[in-house]
Each structure stands twice: as C-alpha cells, then as structure tokens.
Amino acid sequence: MTTQISTKSFLSLLFPLLILVFAGAAWGQELIELPEYRAFPWIGSRVAVWVAAEVHLMFAAFVLGVPMFAVIVELIGVLTGQERYDKMAREFTKLLAIAMSTTAIWGGVLLFLLLTLYPRFMNYLSEVFLPTLWIYPMLFFLEAFTLYIYYYGWERMKDGKSKWFHLYLGLQLNIVGTILLLVANAWATFMMTPGGVDMKTGALMNIWEVIDNFAWWPINIHRLIANVTFGGAIVGAYSAFKFLHSKTDEDKAHYDWMGYVGNMIAIWSFLVLPFAGYWLMRELYQYDQTMGITMMGGFLSWLWIIQAVLISSLFLASNYYLWLGMERIDGGERYQKYIKYMLSVLLLCVWVWATPHSLVVTPEEVALMGGVHHPVIGVFGVMSAKMTAVNFMILTSAIGFMFYRRANKVATVSYALKLNLLQAGIFAGVAAYVLYLGIDGYFVEPSIRVNKYSVWQVLAVLFAILSTTVIDLFLFKDSKSLGKFHWGKMPQRSQYILIFIAVSFTWLMGLMGYARSAIRQHWHVYKVMEDTSVDAFAPTLGFAANVVSVCVLIFLGLVMFIFWLGSLADHKKEDASLSPEPAQ
C-alpha cells in the first residue's frame, strides 16, 4: 500500500512538471502558430476548465488546510501529553498523503485542458509568469516530500527531541504549502487586477508588480483563513462519517470528540472570513469601480443573496450542533431554556441578511413591489442592517458557546453573581451599541458607515467575546462539576449536521470561486487580454450553481473514496493485530 501510494504520487507530481518544462520550451520557440481556442466536446471548453480548476482548488484547499489543523493538534498533544491528539493528527495526515496525489492529478488535468483549449492565453501567461512556472514545481516537490517524511516518519520520530523535529517538519509543510498558495494566487489575481504590464499591449514591465497586484494580498489572506475553515469542516465530516460507522462506544467517543474539535476550528476561523472578504471587496472597488459595481449592483448582485442563505444556514447548523452537544453534558439541561430565544434572534438575522437590495429586476417585479425596493422589508436590504444582523449572529453564537463551556460547571467563587452580571452587562451593552450603530448608520455618510461604524461594530463584538471568555476563567476557578462530557452520546442527526456544514462550506467555496472569475466578465486578463471565444459571457447564476454542484459532488465523491481507502488501511491493521492471537 505504502509503495503504491508513493509511486503513484511521484508520477502524478512528475507529470505536470514535465508538461511545464516541455510546454515552456515550445512556447518560447514559437515553432507553430497557435490557434486562439480549441473546443472541448459536449460540455464546452469553459465548463471543462471550470470543473477541473474548481475540483483542483477544493483538493488544494484540503491539502493546505488539513496540515494546519494537523500540526496545531499535534502540538496540543505534545503540550498536554494526551495521546488522542496525536492519534487524530496522524489520522488526518494519512488522508493527506492520498489527497496530495489526487490534487496533483487534477492539477495535471487542469494544465492539459488549459494548454490545449486556451493556447494563446496560456502562451501569454507563460510569458508574463515565466520565473514562477519554474519555482512552482520545485516547491511542489518540496511540499510532497516533506509530507511523506512527516507522515511516514511519525512512528520513528515519536518521542523526545525527534518529536520536536517532527513538529518542525509539520511547520515546514505548512510554510511551503502557503508559498505554493501565494504563487498560484498571483496567477489568479493577475487575471482580475493586472499590474506590472503595459495595459495597452500587455507587455511585461515588472514581474514583482505582476505578482504583487492589487488583489494578491487580500486573496492570500482570505484563502489562508478559508483553508483553515475548510480543513476543520472536512475533519468534522470525516469524523461524522466514521461516527456513523462506529460499532464500539470507544470509537464513537473518539469520533464525536474529533468532530467537535474540527467543527470548532471551522466555525471560529469562519467568523473572521467576512471581514477578510470585506477587505477584498473594498480593494476591488478601489482598483476599478466598474468591477465593484458589477459585483454588488450588477448581474452578480443576487449571488450575495445566495451567499447569505448559505452562511445563514451555516450559522444555524453550527448553533444547532452546539445545542445538541449540550445534551451529552451533565448539567447542560440548565441552559436548554435559552435556546428558543437564541433561535429567534438567529432567524430574525437570517431574514434581514437575505433581504435583497440593489438588484436586477424586471418591470413586472418592480410593478409588483411598487418600486425597486420592497415596501416593507426593503429597508433591511442595506449594508447598515446587514452588518448589524451579521454581528448579532456572531454575538448569539458566542453566547451559545459560552453556555456550552459552562454546561457542567457551577461557580463556587464568592463573587460569582457579580461576574455573571458583568458578563450579562457586557453582552447587553455591546448588543445595544451594535444596534445603535446599525440604526444611526442610515443617517450618516457612506464613508463613516463603511470606515467607522462597521469597524466599531466588529471591535465591540470581539471585545464582548474576549472579555467574557477571560471573565469565565475567574468565574469558574475551582468550580464544582455537575458531571462529565459523555463523548459519543450524540444523536445521529448531529453527525448529519457536521456533514451539512462541510457540504455547505464546499459549495460556498465553489460559489465564491465563480464570483471571483465572473467579475472579469469577457476578459481573460481584465482590460488587457479580451476573451473572444464563444464563452465570452457570464452565464446565469442558476447555470453557475449547477456547475458548482457538479464540482462539489465530484470532490465529495473522491473524498469519500479517500476516506474508504484510509479505512482499508485500518482494517489491515486490525487484521494484523488479530492474527498473532494463538488459537485456543
């Protein structure tokens, strides 16, 4: 098994590299006149490249996100001395080894398709990005070999100083992976916000400005955080899958705990993502207002409503998972009575967030509504209301998590009542402040709303989360326990929630990938190289959603296959551990 994976992985890495080497040489010599485009049968060139790129990116996010998760978990294991953390980190690194090959295969497919279907475009990109095309495969080799040493050396580097070297390898894995991400992001973002080239002729002027283009860092940060989220969500789904197939209480307890940790990492990193996305959008507006308008007020405006539905579903699902989780904690029933209030707030926020604002509407729709905005709820379709709704959702989730943390604890300190009141006061005060800014936001200049009020709302919510967490440390010092966490005592539907979260994250990633590409509209490289193919138009959101769904199903299907491969290795181990038993 080990040899098979290594050989396959090596070949899958070598193949794209050879293509790059030979293709690069061929482009440079200009031996033949390249056609503009070639057609892919049946589904067309664009959809073929779209699917290959999206599935490749999903796997790339998997192989970059999961190592971040694995190393952090391994470090926790070393620091706490708890074996279960080490076991979990190793379990995921095993999946990585298989996923790395799949990522490389899809990368090869993508490259093949681009070279054959878009030769002129690839010729231009290779001219502009030539140095990075040499660096990238080398980094890929380094990444792959680091991963294999990291995984296969786990047992050998288990104890003492060698364990720290093993952790260093994990760190190196993440650093190289991040650099790979930065290089690939330079290609993608150059197509959106090109810099360092003559905008009239497209000629290369400065390679660093080509790489460090306007959207590069915003995308880098956004994708880095998103990869952590994605890694956590996939870990959650894997754990749920294993939980549902577990036959012993011990296995159920392990995978229940693993799913909880994965989900927590996914949700908490996810909370930061809207702010990174906000920064990215602001940068795009600064680069080219038309691009910003196209995205927020033009044909893509409905996309943000789909996004609101997705993210709202994620908030509801993650809160529901927490509420179900309290059922497995002795004493958790004390907080059940608050769930209906939290659910009401969340649903109200979902309603506000999903209210459309600037939309492409038909005259019939305008006539039905009596204007471009809905007569009653239209007032909620603006940024001030939506930012307030998002912050309330984050605040409500934080309160839910606070209840979860204290579910089996009773404070014994003499000043418990005061600290409880202080926490309640902080939450109430921050909620009132966020609401006040949300209302006042209707009456101030956009620049104040964008630059000040939004930031103040976020800072206030962060203050509430951090301060109440710190207060908890004092409040529950020497606390009395009402019982323990009964890991594994979770209803099956809780595991479907974890799967729902992973599927929704994956779908959201696909949708945002479409948004990033669609804002270029009929340009391969925005305002530098025009798309003159038959696909030089942005399809409907419905069509895009169908393609995204296909990509998600391909990705998840392959991930399930990888999980199954991983379980085959487990069966082998179980068989091996059973075989030495002497017959009685």
Binding site: I293, I305, V361, V372, E445, P446, S447, F500, A545, V548
Partner: protein, 266 residues
C-alpha cells in the same frame, strides 16, 4: 446503509442550493458589442444597441430608471421628447450629447452633479447609439455619426473602433478651455467646499485631512495636482500617488472650480 444515507443527504443539500440558485432571477451578462461610427446601422439597430449599452457597459440603470424615479438619477421615460425643450438653442440630440459628455452642464432640479462624463467610459459609437436609444424614448431618432464627430472631435483615422485591449478608446474630448488662467489666483474656499461636499465625498472623506472610503486624504493638494488629477485623471510628473487606484474619472467640467477647490483644501 449509513453510507447510502450520507450520500443521499449530500445530494439533498447540494440539490437544495442548486434549486434555490435556479429559482432566483436569471441573467446572462454578455460583452458589449463593438460599435463603430462607420457602421451602417438602421434606426432599429441603433436603438437596440443603445439599449444594450444602457443596461450593460454604460451601467446607466444603476442610477436612472425608465417609467419611475431612479435611485440617484431622474426618470428617463419621455426624455427623447423633453430633451428638445430643456435648453434654449439646443436640439434634442445636442442636449442628450451634452448630458452624456458633460453631465453637470445642465442639472435636472433636485439632482446632484454626480454622473461621470461618459466619454471616459463609452466609445464614440456607443455614445451615438445611446443617444439614439434615449431619443427613442418619446422622441425622434435623428442622431448621426457626424453629430458625434463634431462634439467629440474624433479623427477620421480613429473612427473604426479597435479592441480596447490594443488601444485606448479613440476619444479626445473637446479640449476644455481652461478658465483658470483668467480666474483670480485665489479662489473662494466656500465655493470649493460646496463642490467638495457635492462631488468628492462620494469617495473622499468629508474631512479632507482624513482618508476616505475609497479616496485618500487630500488636504493641502496643490493646484497642479488638482488640475492633473481632477481634470485629466493624471498625476503631475514625478508625483508619487498615495493610492494606486484607477477609478477616479476625469471631470473636465470642473475646470472653473479648481481654483476654489485648491483654496478650500489649503
């Protein structure tokens, strides 16, 4: 059995998102058709092309509307008829051309001068068909390529519109006679403030000493800088921009206000 359930559940979730995305308004976004002033277009073709420019590249519908008040601009229903009587000695097409190329020259009561001059966004051919479309809204279409050439001073050799990737839009707006030479050297800061608060704060901070949502702090900007940046969307030689943005359109119609802006920003 559990595996099957997980697969079915996954299909259900993915199917729900697809279904939702397919149940909302569906719009395809096509690239604007290149329109040359030399192209021989029938009246219907011009109107059809103009409507496309209106709703796509021109992004007119974001502010204006037809048959109702727009979010920021006036209702354009019947503008083809009204245009002929808006300004004395201006025919409908002359008024509409001016409205597109120098939008602040005449303002409908109750609306701020916030529309950018369209010469920096549309090609001469696109300006022509847009005027034709606007004329068709209640009026008679009589715009000709020569009308556009006369106003936009398009050289004959530049008329055939080439892809924007190869050369910039072949537009040279009629040079604005700089009034600054005949203006007093010191402007009126009150007038400057009025201009600033009307136009600039859409992107710059209401307090020019602070950075705005989109534009940087501009307090102390010199007259040279303002003339270059505001009138021509350029920077003076050797000037290091605070932000590497390309979004501020040239606002040649503010030539008379530069001196006041300079004084206000001191």
């Amino acid at each position: 059995m559990n595996t099957l359930k997980v697969i079915l559940f996954t299909f259900l979730v993915v199917g729900f998102y697809s279904f939702y995305a397919n149940s909302i308004p569906q719009t395809e976004s096509h690239p604007p058709k290149k329109i040359s002033l030399n192209a021989k277009l029938s009246e219907d073709e011009m109107i059809e092309a103009g409507e496309r420019v209106y709703s796509t590249k021109g992004t007119c519908g974001i502010c204006h509307a037809i048959g109702r008040k727009g979010s920021r601009g006036p209702d354009l229903n019947g503008v083809g008829l009204r245009a002929a009587s808006r300004k004395a000695d201006f025919s409908a097409k002359a008024y509409l051309l001016e409205s597109l190329l120098k939008p602040s020259a005449y303002l409908v009561e109750g609306y701020a001068p916030m529309m950018p001059p369209m010469a920096s966004i549309l090609t001469p051919g696109e300006v022509m068909v847009t005027v034709a479309y606007l004329q068709s809204l209640g009026g008679k279409v009589d715009i000709t390529p020569d009308d556009v050439r006369a106003v936009m001073q398009v050289k004959a050799s530049q008329v055939s519109v080439v892809p924007e990737t190869v050369s910039p839009a072949p537009v040279t707006e009629k040079p604005v006679v700089s009034a600054t030479a005949s203006e007093p050297q010191l402007g009126d800061p009150v007038k400057g403030k009025a201009v600033y608060n009307t136009l600039c704060i859409a992107c710059h901070n209401p307090d020019p000493a602070l950075a705005g949502a989109i534009g940087p702090e501009i307090k102390g900007a010199s007259r040279d800088l303002l003339e270059a940046r505001v009138l021509r969307a350029e920077y003076p030689q050797a000037y290091q921009p605070k932000r590497d943005t390309k979004m501020m359109p040239p606002m040649a119609h503010l030539a008379n206000d530069i001196v006041h802006l300079t004084e206000f920003l001191k």
